[in-house]
Structure formats: structure tokens, C-alpha cells
Symmetry: C2
Subunit: 467 residues, 2 copies
Amino acid sequence: MPISFLRFPIILIILSFSISLYSQEAEETADAFFIKAIYDQVLTSSSCYDWLDHLSTNIGGRLSGSEAAAKAVDYTKQMLDTLGLSRVHLQDCMVPHWERGKPEVVYMTNKRTGIRTNLNVLALGNSIATTSAGISGEVVEVRSLDDLEKLGEAGLKGKVVFFNRPMDPTQIRTFNAYGGAVDQRVYGPTKASKYGAVGALVRSMTTKIDDIPHTGVTVYEEGSVKIPAVAISTMNAEMLSSSLKEGAVEVYIKTDCKTYEDKPSHNVIGEIIGSEFPEEIILVGGHLDSWDVGGGAHDDGAGCVHAMEVLNILTKLNYRPKRTLRCVLFMNEENGLGGGKAYAEKSNKNKEYHLAAIESDAGGFTPRGFSADGHADIFTKRYKNVTKWLPLLEPFGLSFSKGGSGADISPLKGQKGMLFGFRPDSQRYFDYHHTGVDTIDAVNQRELELGAAAITSLVYLIDKYGL
Amino acid sequence: MPISFLRFPIILIILSFSISLYSQEAEETADAFFIKAIYDQVLTSSSCYDWLDHLSTNIGGRLSGSEAAAKAVDYTKQMLDTLGLSRVHLQDCMVPHWERGKPEVVYMTNKRTGIRTNLNVLALGNSIATTSAGISGEVVEVRSLDDLEKLGEAGLKGKVVFFNRPMDPTQIRTFNAYGGAVDQRVYGPTKASKYGAVGALVRSMTTKIDDIPHTGVTVYEEGSVKIPAVAISTMNAEMLSSSLKEGAVEVYIKTDCKTYEDKPSHNVIGEIIGSEFPEEIILVGGHLDSWDVGGGAHDDGAGCVHAMEVLNILTKLNYRPKRTLRCVLFMNEENGLGGGKAYAEKSNKNKEYHLAAIESDAGGFTPRGFSADGHADIFTKRYKNVTKWLPLLEPFGLSFSKGGSGADISPLKGQKGMLFGFRPDSQRYFDYHHTGVDTIDAVNQRELELGAAAITSLVYLIDKYGL
């Protein structure tokens, strides 16, 4: 065989390899430019901070079933209507309707000295009201649900249980510390009631020592006796714990909460139909409801305006997505997941396929990356694909890690797409979470905007390359 | 040769390789444990937030030459004295002594309508006083120093020059945006005076639009005519710029500043003498002086308490350093670098060798890593060595990048050690920098503490392994 025949295919291979290298490089440059354009757009003419200001200041706390929640539905739909999307609509769901009622009255009385001290509290979501006379009981401090079992009815009957295990300050990611302590709030009161406790105080979920109570959901097991349950500030928790070391303390609790009939409500949905693969959905979402106190700015107004801004930026940049981009503002993440469940149910019924779903529900702080999750059948390969984008995302301080995504999107796992959780810096999140101080003042505009840009960049890459 | 002879050395090689692998792994595990212990220590029993509270609240703004600066020297020396170090002392240096005097009075008058509006300003550091009657001039807006040349004496004589190029909001690292705009503040007034301008207004160095003026140093070229120079808030800058689009605007400026004779002052130094290589110094530092307004909390009280905390943590953990660890709180970074220069001069004279110097002067925000710099002779190899530690540091969100270190330590570059700049998240830094709102309220305790832990971890690794 003449040598020239041998050379020809080799040259072809080298040539095609070079072209493919060249074209890969060119694509990467184009991607880098587009991602820079996304960031420039957000940092110079974003709407998300103004949207969040309206949501958290003018509308304010918007617990499921409240008038404010209904206003938030109307407002965000109105805003999405201005963005020139393919379609904006409301999706029905049912939500619980709990109201705090009149401000709680809780005080402790040192039984030795008779000195009475008011405690700074918030009833936990779902908590029942006490009688109008309130309830009283001697305080028993515990550090875990296991402690209840050890104490038993002998130690707990007629008592007020005080759950006082602090969030672990040595966890670098504060959500891990939250995860390690929140069982006390969610399951503590109902478990205490089994042993005859008449009320529950729960140390607020924060590593900070201050006088701000943090509310959040508590769950009553079906058939169990419901007892009133309130969160007390960490400062009050420290004080109460000190007092208990010196002798018996009695606590008086008066709550005025009420659970009404479930109510119809809505998820708010806006979408841009994909030009090539319209049946492949990329969802970006947050949850529209918040607790009733404060403005729900970080939790989760930030996530909602992030999701809205993704579609806004891409539209402003005249980006025509191949796949369907859908912004979903879920109702009722805080106390029932009515919106998330209704969405997944309807999506499954319609045989939809979510190639990816990204939830922002960790605040409007400086982005650090995304956690990724997905059905075992598809996860390993797709996670590897995603990490190939790191050279494009690392300049913006973004990375990927394996881990849970978001409560509202997790019911979509069965569709075998990828699920992502937006992960901003977590250090300040639990200074504000579920409190009266989760307001627009706690949100830095640049940090919020960078979050929107980060999520938009990931959406762009998924849309362009698939997974 | 019998085959057994061949095998013997192979087995030896494999064995020694395994041992070395095993021992390397064991060391890495030990390092991971120790770094975790550092973080645990800081996050559960740190002193740095309390120190910073005292520095920024009780002592407050502490410009070189002021009584507060002297108090800051005394206080930090006192605190270092409590830590059980090998030696704590004050090092002499000379510093400038400039005082703001009575609050500035600046207003603009729309020449068409006659409407007068007060402007929110701060005189720039070094600025001269106007006469007691103040000065007035028509305003000429420019965007760069080059604009001055174009306008020349014809356009600038008798005028007040208004430098209004904003910091670029699209820079992800805000320090880059600062670097791209601050020439207007430092060199603008002196350059404008060459063309006969009678005063200068400089847009505050921040990407935020608010009503807070940011001071900072301006430099008069030797022999040039000194003109009064003030920073105006970005909100006022926008307003003034809008007014100028409609017609002529005159500005009145009255400043009361005074520069006194240079004064003796001090760097504050604490050290632990190394047990094996005492002649190899690892320096951690920040600068003790701040501007006169606000509390100098992020700039650079945070850096000072970081540096102090490094020695404190390692002592509390009973760590016995091989090398000499030295905490240096430099005086006069803001307007002269008197402390940094005196330190380097004395160090060179004493033939000291700084194996590494780390400066924290970018605020007390969540750590993101370190920039590294060094003499060309040593940099490449040592940077590579440093990046080998990434697996130990990445779990804490830390990375390395090439770039400048810190103003106070940069004169040490000639000693051919490595220089590092601590790099926390930069998004909020220029909300507070050189303003009245750089107070303890702007500092999140966890974020501050994590910075101390990050720097301590790097110091530990350098001390243990060298560079």
C-alpha cells in the first residue's frame, strides 16, 4: 500500500480532531460571552430587587390561605404578564389556613422568688390556641426527642416541655445545623403530648444569641392530643435554662391560633415554549408563601424573584430557548406543600417531562453553587455532564455538589430529570429565617442579583446542551 | 542473577511507597482534624467579635495621629498581653496627622432657578480647608482624568470639577471595580488644580446608589496648588449630573480640614517564637488605623482581630509552632503607610526573613480564599506547593488565586517569601468602606469568625510544611 494512502486518513483524523477542538473552543468562548452578558444584564438593569421589595414590604408576610398570599399570587402573575412570555397562568391547589390570632402571651415564674419574666415568643405554625385563660405548667428542659422517652409520663405529665438543643454552630453550612435541630420543633410538641405534657417551648432555630423568636411548622400526629407550642428566642432560652439550674420554673402560655378549613389557592406559572424540544421542561422555582411575620424576603421572596428574573433576563437578551423554560412560584411550601404536590400530580398526569428543575429556597445571598439530585438511573452520568461546565461557572464563584434540591420540586424526582438546589452563602440565613426581621433590609441587592444571574447561567447551559 | 535478588528491592520499593502513601494519608487526616479543631474553636469560643466591638464602637474611627488611634494601640496591646505569647511590643513609626475639623458645608445652586440643595459630603483625607468664607465655582462634570486634559485651562479655570465615573457594577469582584474608579479620588483633585480648578467633588466609591458619602485619601502632587476636595454620595452625584444636563450649576464648598506636623505612633506586634525554625517568620496582619468617620469595623478592625485571633486560637489549641508566628497591627495604611514602611525597613535592617506574610484588609465577610503574590524567583514553585493544600481548604469554601496581597505587607516582597491577601466575599464591602456606617452592626459574627479560622488554617499549614 503506497504510503500516501496511509497518510490520508491520518490527516483527516487530525483535521477533524482539530476542527472539533476548534469548534469546542469556539463554543466555550461563545458560552463565556453569553454568561458574561447575563451577569452584565442583571447587575445593570435587574427588576428582581424591586419585585422583592414589593412582595416583602408592600404585601409582606403571606402565609398560605391569607389575604396577603392571594395578593402575592396576583402581583407576581401581573409582573410575569409584563415579560412577554409564551404563557402565564395560575394553577389550582388546596392549602391549609392557619392564623396566629392575637399576639401570644408567655411568661416564666421563678417558683422560689416569685419573679415573673415575659418571654419573647411566636406560636409555631399549626399550634392550637390555649383556652382564653391560658395554660400553666412546670418547665422540664430536654435536649432531644429521646429525652422524652427517658422521662416518660412520670416526668412529663402536666408539664411544659422545653426543647433546648441548640443548632450546632460548628457546621460550616448552617442548613446542616438546622437539619440537626429542627426535629425538636417539628415533632417535639406532638411527642411530648403523648406523655401528658400540656405545652411546649422550643428554642428558636438559629445559631445567633438574640431576642428574636423564629416560628416554623410543628406537626401533630394524627390522633394525638394537640398541645400549644411556641418558639422562644435563643436569649430567652439561655435565660430559662439558667433559671432551671437554680430551681423550679413555671411557664404560662396563652395562644390564640386557629386552623380554618382548607382553602383553594394557586401556583403562579410563566413559561417560554422551547423552539426545538418543547416537551423538555426546565423549571426554575421558589415558593410564594412565607410565614405571617416579617416580609418573607429571604424565605422565599428571593427565590421567587430569582425564578422570575431568569425568564426576564433571557427574554431581554433575545435568547430563544430550545427547551421549554418554566418559572413556577409554588404556594404552601411552609406548612403543607400543597402547591408542590398539586404541580407534580398534574405534571405526571399530563405525562410531562422535566429535564431539569432548579429551586431557589436558601435566600438571596452571594451564590456559591448548586446541589444536584436525581433518580439513581440517571444521576451519575448527568452529574458528570454538568460538572463539565465548571470552567464556565467557576469564575463566578459557582460549584456543584451532590445533595437535596428543594421541597417543592422533589416530588418531580420520579420523572428522572435532574433536580438542583441553588446554594448561596448560608452564614446569615438563620439570622432571619421565619422571623419578623426577614425583610427587604436584610437583602443586599447585588447579592440577590448575582443569584439570579447564577441560576440563569445554569438554565442557559442546560437548555443549550441538554443533560 | 537469581530472581530472588531482583524481587527484594522491588518489594522494598513497594513497601516504602506504601508506607509513604500511608503516612501521607495519615498526615492529611491529622491536618483535616486539626483544621476542623480550629474552626470549632473559633465558632464556639472566639474573642474576635468582642475585640472588634470594642475597637469600632468604644474607640471608634481612629485615623492616624488621632487620640482614638493611640487608644487602639493601647487596647490591642493590652489584649495581646492576655494571650500568653512569647513577646508583645510596640514598634515606632511616624504618621501624618490630618483632621477633618468642623463638618463640611456643600450645596449646589441651579443657576437658572436659583434653587439651592445641600449635598451630603465628606472631605477627602488630606484635603485642605477653604477660607472661612468658603469657595464657589461653576461645576464641570468629567468622567476621567483624560477629560481634564481635553478641557484644559479654558474649560476648567475657576471651576469646580466633578468626577463622576461610577464604579463598574458588572465586576464580580468589587475590588476590581474600585481599582477602576479610584484614580479620580486619589489623583483627580491635584490634576484638576493644574488647570486652575478651585475645588473638586468626587463621586463616592461604591456601586450602591444611596446617600452615604465615602471618604478616602487624595494626594496632592508636590508643588501643585492644593484645592479643597470632597466626596459626594452617589445619590447626590446622580442628582447633580441630572441638573447639569439642564443647565449650569454652581457649587459652594466650605471645609475646615487641617494637616498638622507628623506624629510618632506605633505598630502593635505580638509573636510566638518558633521551636524549630525561629528565624522563619509567618506574619499575619491588618491595619489598626481607619478613617475618622464610622467605626472602621470592616476596614480594618476586622483584619486586626483576625490577626490577633490566629495567635489566640493556636495558643488555645496548645499548638507549638515550628516557625515564628507574628501578628502585626500596622498603623497608617489609610493615608501614608507609615507603619508598613517602618516595619519593612526595620525587618530588612535586622536581616529578618518572612517566609510568608498574610494580610486581612478586605473586610469581615464569609471567606472565599487567598490571593498569592511573591518575588518572581520563588513564586511559581511555592504557589504550586500551596495549591496542594486545596483538598484540606476547599471543604471550607477556600481557594487560591494569583494577585496582590496587602498594602502593609507588600514592602516585604524583596525578602522573597510568599505574600497572601485574605479574600472574603466582596459584594457588601463597598456599601461600608470609608463611611459612617462601617460599624459593628455591619459585621456578621459568624462571617468574621470564619475569616479568622480560614487564616489560622493557612498559617498552620505553612508552619507545619514550610513553603
